[in-house]
């Protein structure tokens, strides 16, 4: 800000410094400014009449009026609650006088925009994809970070200089958010949803008379002002210079805001690594494999009947996220049936002779799943995991025929993959029944 050139300029600057630090209705700004200036002016006139020179009279008027910080707070309190005045009212005072024509850095606008985009993406990802407890943690973190970014963005719109410094904190966190989003595999449609979310945030701020709309383009219809608020200021003013107000922010408030951003950014990582008690684990399932063989008179294995059964003691709560409680990823079963090499060279493999069938043995309803290969290893998708019921036992049966010459079969392996979260595997030979145990490797079946 340039130095005032005369006593009256100093009076006006004093009024500006009070109003720049206060949060109040924008439409009251001109009235307040005129009223406060009028008081200082009359006090100045009285001091001049008492014989003081212009500067001394201005000093006296300013001194009598009170400290700007206290008066800013009093003005804010005249419009808002005490809690608001000590938090939001400090971070995002009412926009400065439009006549000052302040500008701000386009780069900072971009950083805030990107931060808003990233955190919106995280929120959408958590809501749509994550299981309840993880979503709760992720949403809590996302909201913390979201509020911090919104506050910084709004402060930027009000040309508060602290928003420039805050962008430096957002920048490294942007990389972190990007990595997190990539790691959690955000699909393209959610990127679009993020953009929609940001537009929504702007609309909310516009409805709330956000300082972002500032006093730009007074007299224009609200939709036009809203549309123009999306345009970075530098594009309109074609200037790269910055002119922002130094607004002292209490250290504790700034630390708190930074903490919201950092903790809020870390919580999604915590969410991804925390065990969600609403989701089942290996102990909540029982998977069994039974193998029955028939032999010819010569002792060769002729048929192999395989029965795999599984039962859920309990089921997941919204395994595919809050936004898709009924659909999404499916469980898979895997079967490996391999022959032996009796002569060490050729392999005699059992052949599937009857299409595999599945059913719910509790209520008799059929269980559909993907087709099984004729021999060897197969991985089959089961119906939507959300369709399984706790306490019901499901069964899948295969029948294989074996060419003459095979005296025995290698153990058959059956695996059950639950939403790629855990994998249970059982092995059994002719005449055996075994219970599946959890293994750490996914989709690795067979001997």
């Amino acid at each position: 800000m340039s130095e005032p050139v005369n006593a009256q300029g100093r009076l006006a600057a004093h009024v500006e410094s009070i109003l720049n630090g206060a949060a109040f209705r924008k439409r009251d700004r001109d009235d307040l400014a005129e009223e406060l200036y009028g008081h200082l002016w009359q006090r100045w006139q009285d001091a001049l009449a008492a014989g003081l020179d212009e500067d001394a009279a201005a000093d006296q008027a300013i001194r009598s009026f009170g400290q700007p910080a206290r008066l800013s707070r009093d003005v804010t309190l005249a419009y808002h609650s005490r809690v608001y005045a000590s938090t939001i009212g400090v971070l995002v005072p009412t926009v400065v006088n439009a006549k000052a024509k302040p500008r701000a850095y386009f780069v900072v606008w971009l950083v805030h925009m990107a931060a808003l985009f990233a955190v919106t993406g995280l929120l959408i990802r958590a809501v749509t994809e994550w299981t309840p407890v993880r979503a709760g943690i992720g949403i809590a973190g996302g909201l913390l970070a979201y509020l911090a970014v919104i506050a910084a963005f709004a402060a930027y719109g009000a040309r508060q200089r602290w928003a420039l410094g805050f962008a430096r904190l957002e920048l490294p966190l942007l990389f972190w958010w990007g990595a997190l989003l990539a790691w959690s595999g955000m699909p393209a449609e959610q990127l679009e949803a993020s953009a929609v979310g940001i537009v929504g945030a702007f609309l909310v701020m516009a409805v709330a008379q956000s300082p972002l709309r500032a006093d730009e383009y007074p007299g224009r219809p609200a939709p036009v002002r809203l549309a123009l608020s999306f345009v970075p200021r530098d594009w309109r003013l074609r200037s790269l210079s910055a002119w922002m107000y130094d607004r002292p922010i209490p250290r504790r408030l700034l630390v708190g805001l930074s903490g919201m951003l950092i903790v809020g950014s870390a919580l999604p990582l915590v969410a991804l690594n925390v065990a969600d008690p609403t989701q089942i684990g290996p102990a909540d399932m029982r998977v069994q494999l039974s193998v029955t063989c028939t032999q010819s008179a010569s002792g060769d294995v002729r048929t192999v009947d395989i029965t795999a059964s599984f039962l859920f003691h309990r089921t997941d709560m919204w395994p595919n996220g809050l936004a898709r409680p009924g659909g999404g990823a499916t469980d898979h079963i895997a079967l490996a049936v391999e022959g032996a090499r009796p002569n060490g060279i050729s392999m005699i493999a059992p052949q599937l002779t009857q299409a595999a069938t599945g059913r719910d043995t509790t209520d008799g309803s059929p269980l559909t799943f993907g087709s099984t290969g004729q021999d060897g290893r197969s991985v089959m998708a089961l119906p939507d995991s959300a369709s399984f019921k706790a306490g019901h036992q499901y069964e899948v049966v295969w029948r294989y025929a074996v060419a003459p010459g095979l005296r025995d079969i290698t153990p058959i392996t059956f695996g059950y993959d639950h939403l790629e979260r855990f994998y249970l595997q059982a092995k059994a030979s002719c005449g055996e029944t075994s219970t599946a145990q959890p293994v750490s490797q996914l989709y690795v079946v067979g001997p």
């Binding site: 009028g38 008081h39 001194r63 400290q67 206290r70 008066l71």
Partner: protein
Amino acid sequence: MSEERESGPQLSRGEFGLLILALLGRREMYGYEIVAELRRASEGAIDLPEGTVYPALRRLERDGLVGGHWVDVGSGAPRRRYYKLTLDGERALAGGRVDWLRFKAAADAVLGG
């Protein structure tokens, strides 16, 4: 920045508002006049930073207790915003007076006044 000037009794926001209502109960006044009258009527005992009267006036106006209007005084001087009591303001002043007298009587009794 100069040191803030504040002397005399510390007023709560409610008490300050009541004093302003009392002054406006006599006649319409503008901010500078209210400050001067407050100082004169209290014989200098109440001498707050002058700017504090404006947030108080805004609060009273927001609560519907006073109404403001601009008056052009000419001769190059800035306009003045005059305030007057509304009907609600008159009721609030009457109620505030009763409460204050009751409080004063109780305080006098305790302090032996």
